[in-house]
Structures are given as C-alpha cells and as structure tokens.
Amino acid sequence: MFFNSIDFAIFLPVVFVLYWFVTKNNLKLQNILLLVASYFFYACWDYRFLFLLIFSTLLDYFTGLKMGASEKPRSRKCWFWLSVIINLGFLGIFKYYNFFAASFAEALSLLGIKTNFWVLQVILPVGISFYTFHGLSYVIDIYKKRIIPERNFIEYSVFVSFFPLLVAGPIERATHLLPQVKQKRFFDYAKAVDGLRQILWGLFKKIVIADNCAEYANNIFNNSSAYSGSTLVLGALFFTFQIYCDFSGYSDIALGTARLFGIDLLRNFAFPYFSRDIAEFWRRWHISLSTWFRDYLYIPLGGSKGGTWMKIRNTFIIFLVSGFWHGANWTFIVWGALNALYFLPSMLLNTNRNNLGSVAAGKLLPSLKELFNMGLTFTLTVFAWIFFRAENLQHAGAYIAKICSRSLFHMPEKAAFASTQNNVGIMALLIIFFIGVEWLGREQKYAIATFGAKWPKLLRWSFYSFLVFLMCMYMSTSGSAFIYFQF
C-alpha cells in the first residue's frame, strides 16, 4: 500500500475516523487500533514478512525487559548482544548475504580459486532496515541505562510498527516516540490541518516532481552509452531532484499522517539542497539516520575527540556504514566514501559547524558568497548521486567518463526526453516552481508550513487547490514505488 495510492486514500480516513470517533479518549483502544492498522498496512506489502516484524518486536521487547531486570553487567551484556546479533543477523541474511557471497567468490577467483556459493533467492522484507534500527536504538538505550524498558507490549509495538514510519522511517527513538504513545492524545485542530498541509506538499513532491524526473533519469541512466555528456549531466540532475522529492516527499506524508493522529515524528529533511557546505548538507539530509549513526556509532567510536587520524577513521567508518546501510552494492559504499572525502576538509579545519542556521535567514535572496557555496555543495552532491543511481561501479565510471568527454559541450539529445509523456519545458517550469516554494519556506518545518499564512483564506485555499490541480494534471500515470522502500 503506497502513500500515493487509492488504497491508502481509503485506509487513512477509515483509521482516522475509527481513531477519533470510535476509540475516542481511550488510550488503550487507540493504541490497539494503531497497532492493528499498522500490521494490516504492513501485511498489504507482504503478509509473509509480518512474522519477522512481530518476531523482531518480541525479541527487543523481551531482551529490553531482561536487561532492565538484571543488575549484573554480564547478564545485561548477554541479553544486549543476543538482541544485536539476531537483529543484525536477519538484516545480514536478507539484505547482505548475497552481496558478501558474491564479493567473496570474486575475490577468491582473483586468486584462482573457483567457488560456488549458495545464493539465497529471497525478497528483501520491506522496511527491515528501518524497524531493525528502531529496535536497536531501544535496546542500546536500555543497555546504556538512558531509558527504562517499556513494560506495556502494545505501546512498545506501536513504537516499532506505527504505520506512517514503518516502511521508510523516519528512524524514531524511544525517548521521543514512546512518551507520545503512552500519553493520552486529544484532537488538535491546528495540528490536524498542519498534518494535511504537509501531506499535500509531500504528495506534490512525490507525484509531480519525483515521478516525472524518474522517467527522464531512468531513460538516461539506462541508456547512458547512447547519450552525450550534456544529456548525462541532465540525467544526474533529474535524479538529484527525483531522490530528494521522493524521499522527503515520503517523509512529509509520514510526518503529516502521524500528526493527524496527534503524534509528532522526528524531522527527516531540512532543505538540504540549500546547504552551504557538505557538513550542513548532512545535518539536513535524512536527519534521523545521520543522527542515529552519530549517536550509536560515531560517538561510541570516539567521535571527533581523538587525534587527527582517529577523526579521519571515524568519519570514514560512519559514511561507509551509512552508504552500506542503503544497499548491498559497491556503488553505495563508494557514494559513502565520496561523501566522507567531501566532509573531511571541513572537519579537519574545524569549519563543519560554520553554517548551523538557515541560509539567508530573514532575507529574500542569498548573498553571492552564499549562492556560490550552495552551488558548489549542490554540484558535489549531484556528482555523488551518480554512484548512488548507477547499476554498478563500471556503469558509474563510464557515466562520469562520458560527462568528462567533449560531448559535454554538445546539445542534449532530444531522444532522451521524447520517450516519456512529459514535456521537458513544463518539467523545468515545475521544478523551478518547486524550488521557489521550497526557498520561500526554507526557515519552516516544511516548505508550505506557513506559506500564505497571512493571505486571505480564499487565496490560501486557492494555492492548495492549485497544488492539487498540478498533481492531477502532471502526475505520472505510470506510478512508482518510493525509492527508500527498497532499503
């Protein structure tokens, strides 16, 4: 069940009405409803993997209780490692086994040893990387005595499986979400309206920008050998907008949906393409994952406290693991390594916390310096996305080599844009409109949070209706899944 599907458009109002009308003011019933709805939502993807989700929930719930009940460090450690090993074991089997088997076989074949590893024919359970990380953060926090274990199984299960965040995050923390699940929730008009507005903007980003950019990006990346360097640059640009609008669109819908149920989820994006350096970009992109790695990997490794080599090592570890988290492919690892390289200079020069606020705060336009810095950061990001999107390293290499060839100065081929039902001129206008709205709303939680707040109601409603119209007029009818569902 995709967020941008008719099924979800029926599912959401039904759960909403039951939640506020039938289970009204009864926290226990509200949580049971959320859990049933979440399991139904997950089962719509593939009911066979529901057992895995329930098993993972039970495992972390019981190991959490055991750790909480035991004062002996050895016993706590045992329960902790049991949970970590099983959780990561599932992730390893489903997501990484084939990658490691193939890479190991390839390495042995270089030494002249022929091996025939058993390849698993498994489907990746949707959302496994996300709910595993939910569970892990909970278990680690208990082990580190930051939180006490949750005794109520229903409430804990809602924390792990709450449907808006179940399949692609944001990756929540027990310290943030569990207290909200345990607290009595009352309907808040302003919060619900804000939730709907955020869903609207998320849908616009996904349906209009991401899905249409995907048609161009897929065509260009899939036939990259046939096109000139200039077309490949456009392909990388289309993918840059596709991935941002796809994932941040998903996050907006998830956050907006949760707000309809009176729950605030962690922010996942903060206008990353307006960043002035790579450090700022990583504070604004997939925030819940970046902070997860910071808190549970980077800081335990020593963070930036040690000497220069330690800082470099830790930076590379966190970026490589982050890349590998995205998928079992060398392209993701190189993407992570490239970002580590981008990040290192600012960290070594101690300039990585220079740009903490919003760019051109309180102003309409950025300064020339800010514009240059944003352009440079954006260009570096676009380059790194080539690795993220490419099928394999050879593909990425050939793609970049073509961009660096003389054909960069050729006119882009019309054929690259003719095979879709889109008009590239209209697409460019839609992207400009999108960037404009995002720029104007860059100091808010999401672009249209306060957009037109001072306008008369009729004008504001006209703007929202216009967004709905643009969605229906320019949505991609081929439809597509959210990219991050595969992670």
Binding site: N423, S462, S465, M473, M475, T477
Partner: protein, 309 residues
C-alpha cells in the same frame, strides 16, 4: 473535530470547483503538448469523428468489422463490396475490449450485421484502454456508458478529458468542427476504412525481451460480455488476428496460448500463421499493412467466407 470535518468538506467543494475552472482554462489556453493529463484529441485519431457520425446514420450491413487500428486499416469495405458484402468498419485506434463493447452497444442495432468480424490484437487485452478512451471521449458522444468506461479504466487522463469533454459538449464548443477526409497520408473511405498512401516498412532487427501475454481482468470481462452480446443477438462471430510483421508477432513468448484462448471462444483465424507476407513489401510499419498487404489479407479472408458460406 466537527470544525475539522466541516472545513475539510468545504475545502473539498472549493477545490473541486476551482479544479473544474482550471481544467477549462488549461484546455482552452494551453497547447496540448503541455497538458500532460488532459488529452482532448478531437479528430486526431484515425478519423473516429467521421466514422461515428457515419455509423449513426448507416444502413444495415452484412458484415461489421471491429477492433484496433489493424481493423480500420486492415478491412477494406470496398474489397468486401467486390465480394458481394455490404459492410461497415468500426475499428479505432488502440481499441481495447472495453471500448469494443461500448461501441457495439451503441451501434449494433443501427448496423444490424449478420456477421461480426472482430480483430483481436493481443496487445489490446493487456492495455489499460486509456488511449482509446480519449479517442472515444473526444470523437463520439459522451453518455452514461462512457462514464462507466471511465470508472472501469480509472485513470486521471480519462477523467480529466471526460470532464473537459462534458464542458465542450455543454457549451457546444465543437459544433463547427469538420474532419478532413484526407489527413496526412490517410484517406477516409466511406464505410469506415482508412487507406494509407502506399509506403513500405523498413524492418529493423531488434532483440527485445519476449513478452508474456497477461490480459487485464476488466478487458477479459468486457470480452466475455461481447461474446455474450453477439450470441444473444444471434450474430455470427469470427475472431481474427490481422497480420503484423514477423518481429512484431514474435514479441510474445506464448503465441500458441493466445491462439488457443481465442479459438475456444469461436471461429478464429490467425492470419499471421495463414499468410506468408513480406515484412517490407506488405507493411508500412511494424504492425500495419500497406494497401498491397490489405489486398492479400482481405482476398484471403473473403475467399474463406465464401468457401464456408
């Protein structure tokens, strides 16, 4: 909560009204190339506008041809006449079973055929039917059946074009429209056939992945209803696969399965297996016959009809 529901309802009504206004503005002021999900193609597809108007006034016929562009470009009513049959060709571009059913419901009593020759192009059974729905919305009348078709197809393009089509019908925006008999290389022949000025196909050797034939459920439902309708009316039915180039025919991995599916439904001829045509001399593109091919195909078909009379 009450306020929220009330505001949501008011906003929905407001958004729906504004949507309708914007749709008209877009349709009237913005060139078709820039209106992705609004495609009101009056007179743009295979002379459907002229064909439906002729069908509405046409006399009874011996044979009614129906199907995709393979039908209106493949069954020449003049050749039928030479063999002694009166006929009408109700084929249209990318016509899928859901549209075939709609057109039969609309015109079968008027044309009252003794024989229905239904060109069954496997692709149209796997197609969502959007392209043909746009053709019908713009070039035929919009009524309850068209509305039902739109709900079955459930595609934003069809909905947008239908709403816009209703507006044009309501304000008689198309009353002065006349379709030329000759459009580009195509000439409309009274009786529904479209003759293409003779050109030849240049076959391209491609190694595309073979496709498995997976019909859409609502297309199969419509097909079953067509068979039922024809049976109920006591009309003889022949299902025909019109010739396409070898490369086009070989696209499907399961042509035998397709043949057995259609032959179970009644008399069925697959002319890709009956005729040996040249991919270059008898076609003008990958899947349409030129007039040389049409002549060979039609002679073979009508000889069979005469033989089995």
């Amino acid at each position: 909560m009450g306020k929220f529901i009330k505001q949501l309802l008011v906003f929905s009504i407001f958004a729906a009204v504004l949507y309708f206004v914007l749709l008209i503005v877009w349709g009237e002021c913005i060139p078709a190339a820039y209106t992705k999900n609004l495609n009101y193609s009056l007179g743009a597809y295979g002379h459907m506008y002229t064909r439906t108007r002729e069908a509405a006034k046409h006399d009874k016929v011996d044979i009614l041809f129906i199907g995709s562009s393979h039908a209106y470009r493949g069954f020449d009513t003049r050749i039928a006449a030479a063999y002694g049959y009166t006929s009408f060709n109700l084929g249209s571009s990318a016509q899928s079973p859901i549209q075939t059913k709609l057109l039969l419901d609309e015109y079968i009593d008027q044309l009252d055929p003794k024989l229905l020759i239904y060109e069954v192009y496997p692709y149209t059974f796997t197609n969502d039917g959007v392209e043909s729905s746009l053709d019908i919305i713009a070039n035929d009348k919009i009524d309850r059946a068209v509305l039902q078709m739109a709900f079955k197809i459930n595609n934003i393009k069809t909905y947008n074009s239908l709403v816009y089509g209703c507006y044009r019908a309501m304000f008689k925006r198309d009353k002065n429209f006349t379709e030329n008999k000759v459009i580009g290389l195509d000439t409309y022949i009274p009786g529904g056939f479209v003759e293409r000025e003779i050109t030849y196909n240049s076959p391209v050797i491609t190694q595309e992945k073979k496709i498995n034939w997976k019909p859409i459920h609502y297309q199969l439902d419509a097909f079953a209803k067509i068979i039922e309708l024809v049976k109920k009316k006591g009309i003889k039915l022949i299902l025909v696969q019109a010739p396409v180039t070898q490369a086009e025919f070989d696209k499907y991995s399961d042509n035998n399965k397709i043949d057995s599916f259609f032959s179970e439904k009644g008399t069925y001829y697959n002319f890709n297996k009956i005729l040996q045509l040249s991919d270059s001399a008898d076609f003008y593109n990958e899947d349409h016959l030129n007039q040389n091919g049409v002549k060979i195909f039609n002679d073979s078909l009508f000889m069979r009809l005469l033989k089995n009379k």
